[in-house]
Subunit: 331 residues, 2 copies
C-alpha cells in the first residue's frame, strides 16, 4: 500500500497534527509515457502554511482532502519514457505520497555524485535560489554595507547571510536561541547574531550590532522583529520581503506601527517576491551557488526528520523554531 498525507482541515492559527490525515491508496502503475517515483526526501517549508488557508495566497491554496505538495527528491523506480531511466533521482514539486507517477513535467534530474541529494532541496534548490536572488536582485548589496537577516537560523537565512558576506557586506543575524546565535557566528560566518527571545531591547541590540545602521534587511519573519530593524534603517535601504513566519499563524489582522513614515523619510524600497518569478535567473544563480559550495565558501545545515508519517510534525516544528537550517524529512 501507498501512504498519502492529505489536508484534513484548514489550520486555525498554528497548524495541528489533526489538520493532516494519513490515508492509504494502491501504489499507482506507470502508464506509457510516465514514470513511477519513490519519495526519498520531502522539504517542509514555512510558506506551505499560506497554501493551507482558503484565502488567495501567493500560490493557489491546497484543496481539502487532497494530498499536500512540496519540494521532493524521488527515485525513478520504473520508467516508460525516454527522458528518465530507472535509478535516476529527480527533484520537483510533488505530492506527499510514498509513491506517485509523473509524466516528468517540472522535474529535474539531480546528480548525487555532485552534491548530497538533500542539498537539492536546500542550498542548491529553492532555498538557495531564494536567498541568493532575493539578496542580489532586490537587496542589491554593495561592499561595506550592513545586511541584517531575520529568521537567520532558518534554511534561507543561513544562506542569505553567507552570500552577503561573500559579497562584502557586514552581516548580522536575528534568531531565536543561543545555540543558533553560536552557529551563525561560528559556522555560517555572520559577524554578529542576536537572540530576539532573550534580548531585553531588540531595537537597541540591533543598533549596537549595526552602528552604521542597516542598508539591507532580508526579512523572513515580519512583526516586531521587523519593527526593531526598521527603527535602525538607513536612507535608501532595500528590504526584500521573503517571508513573514511570525504572521502566518495569526488569526486576526496583525497590527503594528505604520511603515509609510519610515518608507518616506528614508526613501526605503520594500519588495515582496516569490522565487518562481525570478526563474530566468535560476541557471546563473545555481552556477554561482554550486561554485561557492565546491570551493567550500558556503556551508549549510539540515535538520533531518526520519519517516513518512512524521512529515506533518516536522512541518509544525518549523513554527516552533526547532529546525537549524533546512528542515527535511527522509523517507
Amino acid at each position: 500500500m501507498n501512504k498519502v498525507i492529505i489536508l484534513n482541515k484548514r489550520p486555525h492559527g498554528k497548524p495541528a497534527l489533526s489538520d493532516f490525515e494519513i490515508t492509504n491508496e494502491e501504489i499507482p502503475l506507470a502508464k506509457d509515457g510516465a514514470i513511477l517515483l519513490k519519495t526519498v526526501y520531502v522539504s517542509v517549508d514555512p510558506y506551505l502554511r499560506g497554501r493551507m488557508n482558503d484565502a488567495k495566497p501567493y500560490v493557489p491554496p491546497f484543496e481539502l482532502d487532497k494530498p499536500i505538495q512540496s519540494g521532493i527528491i524521488a527515485e525513478v523506480i520504473e520508467s516508460k519514457q525516454e527522458n528518465f531511466k530507472k535509478g535516476d533521482f529527480v527533484s520537483g514539486n510533488l505530492e506527499w505520497k510514498e509513491y506517485q507517477t509523473s509524466e516528468g513535467k517540472g522535474l529535474h534530474k539531480v546528480n548525487q555524485n555532485e552534491a548530497k541529494l538533500s542539498s537539492y532541496l536546500g542550498i542548491l534548490g529553492m532555498t538557495g535560489l531564494t536567498a541568493y536572488l532575493g539578496l542580489t536582485e532586490i537587496g542589491l548589496p554593495k561592499k561595506g554595507e550592513t545586511l541584517i537577516v531575520s529568521g537567520a537560523g532558518g534554511a534561507v537565512g543561513t544562506v542569505a547571510g553567507q552570500v552577503g558576506k561573500l559579497l562584502g557586506c557586514k552581516v548580522v543575524g536575528i534568531t531565536g536561541s543561543d545555540e543558533k546565535v553560536d552557529l551563525l557566528t561560528s559556522k555560517f560566518n555572520f559577524d554578529h547574531a542576536v537572540n530576539y527571545k532573550t534580548t531585553p531591547n531588540l531595537k537597541e541590540a540591533v543598533k549596537s550590532a549595526c552602528p552604521k545602521g542597516v542598508d539591507i534587511y532580508f526579512d523572513n519573519v515580519g512583526g516586531e522583529i521587523s519593527d526593531a530593524v526598521l527603527a535602525n534603517i538607513n536612507k535608501y535601504a532595500r528590504l526584500p520581503v521573503c517571508g513573514a513566519i511570525s504572521l502566518y499563524n495569526k488569526t486576526e489582522v496583525p497590527i503594528g506601527p505604520r511603515l509609510q513614515p519610515i518608507i518616506l523619510t528614508k526613501s526605503v524600497t520594500i519588495r515582496g517576491f516569490i522565487i518562481g518569478d525570478l526563474a530566468e535567473k535560476f541557471p546563473a544563480a545555481t552556477k554561482q551557488l554550486t561554485a561557492w559550495l565546491k570551493a567550500d565558501k558556503l556551508t549549510f545545515s539540515e535538520t533531518i526528520v526520519e519517516g513518512f508519517d512524521n512529515i506533518p510534525q516536522a512541518f509544525i516544528a518549523l513554527f516552533e523554531g526547532k529546525n537549524k537550517g533546512k528542515m527535511i524529512v527522509k523517507i
Copy 2:
C-alpha cells in the same frame, strides 16, 4: 522694513498660528556679486511640516527662531552680478522674507512669457516633477493598468492622475470633498473619484471603482486610506510613497495593519522617494511636462492666498484640505 516669518516653536500635532512669528528686519543691501530679490509667490507644501520637527526627517529640520524656507518665485530688483539682471524672475528655495539677497546659487530664471509665473512653483516646478517622476520612475505605468491616487485633489495628486491618463492608465482619485470629486472627473480627466469622508466603506468603494484591482498606488496620505487601497492591490503592484499627510501631525506612533503579508503575497514594491534624488531626470521631465502643457493636455489648479502675513495660515490650511491643487501665497 522687511517682514520675515520665523519658526517660533515646533508644532505639536497640527501646526498653529502661534508656532510662527512675523518679525521685522531692515531690507538687506546687495553686495558685489549678489542680487536683491523681492518675493512674488511663496509655495506652501505639506512636506514642510516634517522640517518643523526636531527629529531627523528626510531634509534637515528648520531651526527655531530662523526664517522658514520653501519654493519661492522672486523678482530681481537690483543686481550686482552678471547672471541675473534687474527685472528677471527667479525660482528657488528661499526664505519667507519680503526681501532677501542671494548670490544666485540654486536659483533658476523663469520666463513669464512661456507660462504663468506661479506655474513654476507647481506644474513646471517641484510639484509637477514629483508627480511625473514618482509615477514614471517608481509607478512604472503600463497601458491599461489601474492607477489610484490618494490626496488626488492636491497639487501633486492632480498632476499624477493626469499623467497616468496620458500614459494610458485607468485613473481613480481619492479626495476629501464632493467638490474635489467633481473637479477630478470634470477638469482633471480622472475616470472616477471617491470622497473618503462620506463613503461608508472605502475598501468597497475602491473595489467598485477598480474592478480589475489596483496596479499602481500613488500614495500622498498613508493611514487608513492606504489600508483601503492595499486591500484591493494586485500582484506585482508598485507603490510610490510620495507623502503621508494623514500621519505628519500625529503625536504618537501611528498604528495600523502590518503590511508584510500583503507585500509578500502580492509581490508588491513600495518605495519612498524625495524628488531631489531624481534630479538627473529633471530636464527630460520638464520638457515633457512643458510640451503637454502647451498642447493643452495638462491642466492645473491653484489656490492663491494673498498677503505675506497669511503664509502660515495658508500652510495650516493644507492640513484642513482647503486647497484645490497647488497652494500658493501671492505677496
